[in-house]
């Protein structure tokens, strides 16, 4: 089974904040939760960040543990450590998938990203993101479009796959 999220999809959000997680994402969450076993509900951590961020980033337990280890390795009292602690320990919300495969987003989180009736899930490597559909379309897509527009007509982004570690 894959350890990485892949794919994107739209899901309804009801007025209790419940929203289905794409089934394939659930498999990854299960894999990434050391204490998960058949029949249980995988846990995960939602990092929402400060006011500048308008989406939710979801981490498997494994992924967040790795982050924690890195934070612990930074010198106590350093600004870097404080910043990261605030983000990953403070501005985050630990939760679990429920038995019907849903996540419950408390209104605090929904309000933060202005989520109403539909959420957009998109994989991002070892995490996935939850956006308000409209936000994603207007902001993210526009941003990428603009970026691509600056490049030559026939530019292929795949070149980035090749020249790595040499610049």
């Amino acid at each position: 089974m894959a350890r990485r999220f892949r794919g994107e999809s739209h899901h309804k959000v009801d007025n209790k904040g419940r929203v289905s997680i794409p089934a394939s994402f659930r498999r990854v969450l299960e894999q990434g939760d050391p204490s998960y076993t058949e029949g249980l509900n995988p846990e995960l951590v939602i990092v929402y960040g400060d006011h500048r961020r308008n989406y939710l980033e979801c981490y498997t337990i494994q992924a967040i543990n790795e982050v924690d280890l890195k934070i612990d390795a930074l010198p106590r009292g350093s600004m870097e450590r404080r910043m990261l602690q605030r983000l990953f320990h403070g501005q985050s919300f630990p939760t679990a998938v429920d038995e019907t495969g849903r996540l419950v987003l408390p209104s605090k989180l929904r309000t933060k990203i202005d989520l109403e009736s539909e959420a957009f899930f998109i994989a991002a490597g070892d995490t996935f993101q939850i956006w308000k559909t409209e936000t994603y379309e207007t902001e993210e897509l526009a941003k990428t479009e603009a970026w691509l527009d600056k490049l030559p007509e026939d530019f292929d982004p795949l070149v980035y796959l090749d020249n790595m570690g040499q610049e």
Copy 2:
């Protein structure tokens, strides 16, 4: 269940100094108290430090035990040991959560951090902090802003997670 605190939230403080602890923090306090059992109230230790510190740092019993062990390992009579003893043994306050999930902050502690009607709780790894809401907003956030301003426009603090152990 997690042994680490995660999340942040605001809570009312009444004129008796009572304040609800975020429910998820309570779960961690329960986990971290060796003598806790279902139905009991978990204990914890609040470290308030000297006059320079304007927030309260809360430790689970386990966490404070680990600190104690480390202090015991320092040479008797050393300055380091004395300093740490003053902080963790002297400038601290052992207490317990009450049956309704609240903490009672004696006026000495409230005065120290100038706490009035609202407290801000924020996780910090294996401890959590209690701030006066306004203090946190003006001091902590301002400090971060200032720090971020010194960095390049498009700098992402998350790089600190990656280039570790190589500089």
